[in-house]
């Protein structure tokens, strides 16, 4: 048996789906959260039923992509999901008269129907009483009051699902001519009047006042920036303690391995490849957890729709609708769900432009890169380091706005669709939802660190270590000199010569390794940006996933380090000390700024490219995305480096 969960957006379909199936599909207090059909299974008595969670719809006429997907599945036209054995209509009990409009149309489909009257907790709190039995009689199908969040009424709903029959035939619309909506609304008004015992109390003064402020054209925008600033402040201030802990943990783990294992390639692999590589990325777990937790709480309050509302006017100046704003916000976590969330944008060109610019927003995979560069630029000034972060985010946003503006005036011309967006009522956010989302995202992050990033780190370590080469002549000479000096008792000079010899050896070993050769091969292209061949290796390795650069640089520069170093305090220390063959520092201000700009703007995520291809159904758009972002990144990094160098900031 297969049942679909259908209803108005934000009615709680996905919450009910999760409650019934035990899955964890994304829910939020924003109409248009679900954009794909999702199939789940649940046991019901002795048989199993299949549930299909659909995107929300207002009507049987789709005006955007996700509505079309839902309608196709609901009417059994989808090739993937086939025909249905019944429909569970999920309705928001606090606004019955609106929901009845859709219910009446679904009832006319002649499929077995049950109405899940959801959010009765909110209706009761608002002083509303709905007579479910009367409503069932009016509709000719069972009506079950439920609270999807807490699971109230689910047992009755399950029991009803076991004995579903097609509804008694009825035609609300009689002879609908002219406005096909009018008779239906008259009918739903009448039914509401008969079944709802107390009219809903008007929303509290407080809610109205807050809403008044948050939707104010000026105050609303200010409030939005305040909220965002607070969010980022929270992320960085809360995350610093656990991040230090994890960093220390990996450093001492590395130290322990060094002390216990004898000097060998294996020890080197463990310390530099595994612990240095994957550990360098794992440090960011706390930031990612807090980011997703806060975003989920914010989404669940109902604020997101207000933000899209106040941003609509600003976005129109660029040529995009306010609805494009919500994907843009979520692109700061990850571009992949954001690209999928563009389905709520009705106009095809607006949607394409949004998809094309989304990867410019700084996603959470860039956090490790920004952190690393901020630490290299301003090692001991937290304020300036956070300025680096803010700057990087701002550059991403400005670039996206600029590119969208340009695209809307050239390649994808056309006026954007006017805004029609429901502003849902405020709800208390669910901590459980936020915690579950956080755990899921943390799991994804850990899986990435444990698979692709670990794999690339180890592969890089191997490429940077083999083939092994003889130490260069100068190094051998220096080594001998050091021996002589030591014999004469000049220990300090001896140590210096020794260190210089080791650096030369390491450099030549890396330069002659496979990775070194690749790096040298591309160095001419990158030298104008201030990058040396080691950074070149980092850039190549991070094409699949950008955070890999952190682990790559740790491995590449770490390989050159004396492994038996006293006590490596931090994973970045080897970077800070990194020197070119001539003894100058690698990570100068100009190089760091140029590298930062490159990482803000470059398209380095295979998964994003794949999802762009899937959502646009053509290779043309991901290719354009890759092309323009690479040009932009290269141009910006080049300009920044050359200008800084000319100004004497080396």
């Amino acid at each position: 048996m297969r049942f679909a969960l259908a209803g108005n957006p934000n009615g709680g379909k996905t919450t009910l789906f999760n409650a019934l199936t035990g899955l964890r599909a994304h829910t939020a207090n924003y109409p248009g959260t679900t954009i794909e059909c999702r199939l789940g299974r649940c046991a019901n008595g002795d048989h199993e039923i299949e549930l299909l969670d659909l995107p929300g719809i207002y009507d049987f006429n789709a005006s955007s992509e996700e509505e079309q997907v839902a309608l196709d599945a609901l009417q059994g036209r989808s090739a993937e999901f086939g025909s249905l054995d019944g429909v569970i209509v999920v309705t928001d009990a606090t606004n019955l008269s609106r929901s009845l409009f859709l219910i009446s149309q679904i009832v006319e489909m002649k499929l077995p129907v049950v109405v899940a009257l959801n959010m009765v907790d909110l209706a009761e709190a608002g002083g509303m009483r709905i007579d479910a039995r009367k409503l069932a009689a009016e509709l000719g199908c069972p009506v079950i009051p439920v609270v999807a969040r807490t699971g109230r009424g689910l047992a009755e709903l399950r029991a009803t699902l076991r004995q579903m029959k097609p509804p008694a035939p009825r035609n609300v619309c009689g002879g609908c001519d002219g406005c096909r909506f009018r008779t239906r609304y008259a009918w739903s008004d009448a039914v509401t009047q008969r079944c709802v015992e107390h009219a809903p109390r008007p929303p509290s003064r407080w809610t109205e006042r807050i809403d008044h402020m948050l939707t104010h054209p000026v105050l609303g925008v200010a409030a939005f920036f305040g909220v965002m600033l607070g969010l980022f402040f929270l992320i960085f201030s809360l995350a610093s303690v656990p991040m230090d802990l994890i960093d220390k943990l990996f450093s001492s783990l590395g130290g322990w391995v060094e002390r216990t294992l004898p000097e060998s390639d294996l020890r080197n692999l463990l310390v530099k490849g595994v612990i240095g590589g994957a550990g360098g990325v794992l440090v960011f777990l706390p930031q990612i957890c807090i980011l997703f937790f806060c975003i989920s709480l914010l989404e669940d309050t109902g604020y997101l729709a207000r933000a899209a509302f106040v941003m609509d006017r600003l976005m129109r100046r660029v040529g995009l609708p306010g609805k494009a704003f919500v994907p843009m916000l979520s692109a700061h976590a990850c571009a992949i769900p954001a690209i999928m969330a563009t389905r709520v944008i009705e106009d095809k060109r607006d949607r394409l432009v949004t998809i094309l610019v989304l990867p410019l927003f700084s996603c959470s995979a860039r956090i490790p890169v920004y952190s690393m560069l901020a630490a290299l630029l301003f090692a001991d000034n937290a304020w300036r380091a956070s300025l680096v972060f803010t700057g990087a985010y701002a550059v991403g946003i400005l670039a996206a706005v600029g590119v969208a503006f340009a695209l809307k005036r050239t390649l994808l011309k056309g006026e954007s669709r006017p805004l029609v967006l429901e502003l849902p009522s405020y709800k208390m956010p669910s901590l459980r939802t936020a915690a579950l989302l956080m755990f899921d995202r943390a799991k994804v992050f850990l899986r990435r660190a444990g698979t692709i990033i670990l794999f690339i780190s180890v592969a890089l370590w191997a490429l940077a270590t083999y083939p092994k080469s003889e130490p260069p002549k100068e190094a051998v000479a220096l080594q001998q000199q050091a021996g002589q000096l030591r014999a004469r008792g000049a220990t300090k000079d001896a140590n210096e010569a020794q260190a210089q010899a080791e650096r030369l050896t390491a450099h030549s070993a890396l330069a002659n390794s496979a990775a070194g050769r690749i790096g040298h091969y591309i160095e001419p292209v990158l030298r104008p940006l201030g990058f040396d061949w080691q950074i070149g290796i980092g850039i190549i390795s991070s094409f699949a996933a950008r955070e890999v650069i952190v682990s790559t640089l740790a491995v590449v520069y770490g390989v050159g380090e004396d492994v038996a170093e006293e006590n490596p305090e931090s994973l970045y220390d080897s970077l800070r000390r990194a020197q070119r063959a001539d003894g100058t520092k690698v990570f100068t201000t100009a190089t760091c700024v140029s590298l930062l700009l490159f990482y803000v703007l470059a398209m380095q995520c295979l998964a994003t490219q794949a999802i762009t291809r899937r959502e646009t159904n053509s290779w043309k758009w991901p290719a354009l995305q890759l092309g323009y972002m690479t040009l932009l990144a290269y141009g910006a990094a080049l300009t920044a480096f050359q200008v800084l160098r000319m100004c004497g900031i080396a």
Binding site: Y58, F181, P418, L419, E422
Partner: protein, 96 residues
């Protein structure tokens, strides 16, 4: 401006465009001038000739109270909706 209590809304006031009404006012939809696709969604949300609507906040975009829900609407779209402003809280007698 003072109005008499007896005054009924429909006859006394000329129809106006939705984007010209002040915040907090109520009105009845008189007719809709465009067949733009975006309006279909608004109609499925409760914007229908003869029905009462409320302007919660005027501006661009404006907030419309439709069937107990708040909907943000571009004023570019709202200007195609011609309404009969109501003078008192309820417009029950207007719906004929």
């Amino acid at each position: 401006m003072k109005r008499s209590v007896k005054e009924t809304c429909c006859a006394s006031k000329p129809p106006r465009r939705l984007n010209e009404l002040p915040s907090g006012s109520r009105a009845v939809v008189h007719h809709i001038e465009t067949a733009e696709k975006a309006l279909h969604r608004l109609m499925a949300m409760g914007l229908c000739v003869g029905r009462e609507i409320k302007v919660v906040r005027q501006g661009n975009p404006l907030i419309l109270g439709l069937l107990g829900a708040r909907i943000g609407v571009s004023s570019r779209l709202a200007q195609h909706v011609v309404v009969q402003p109501a003078c008192r809280g309820s417009t029950h007698d207007c719906q004929s």
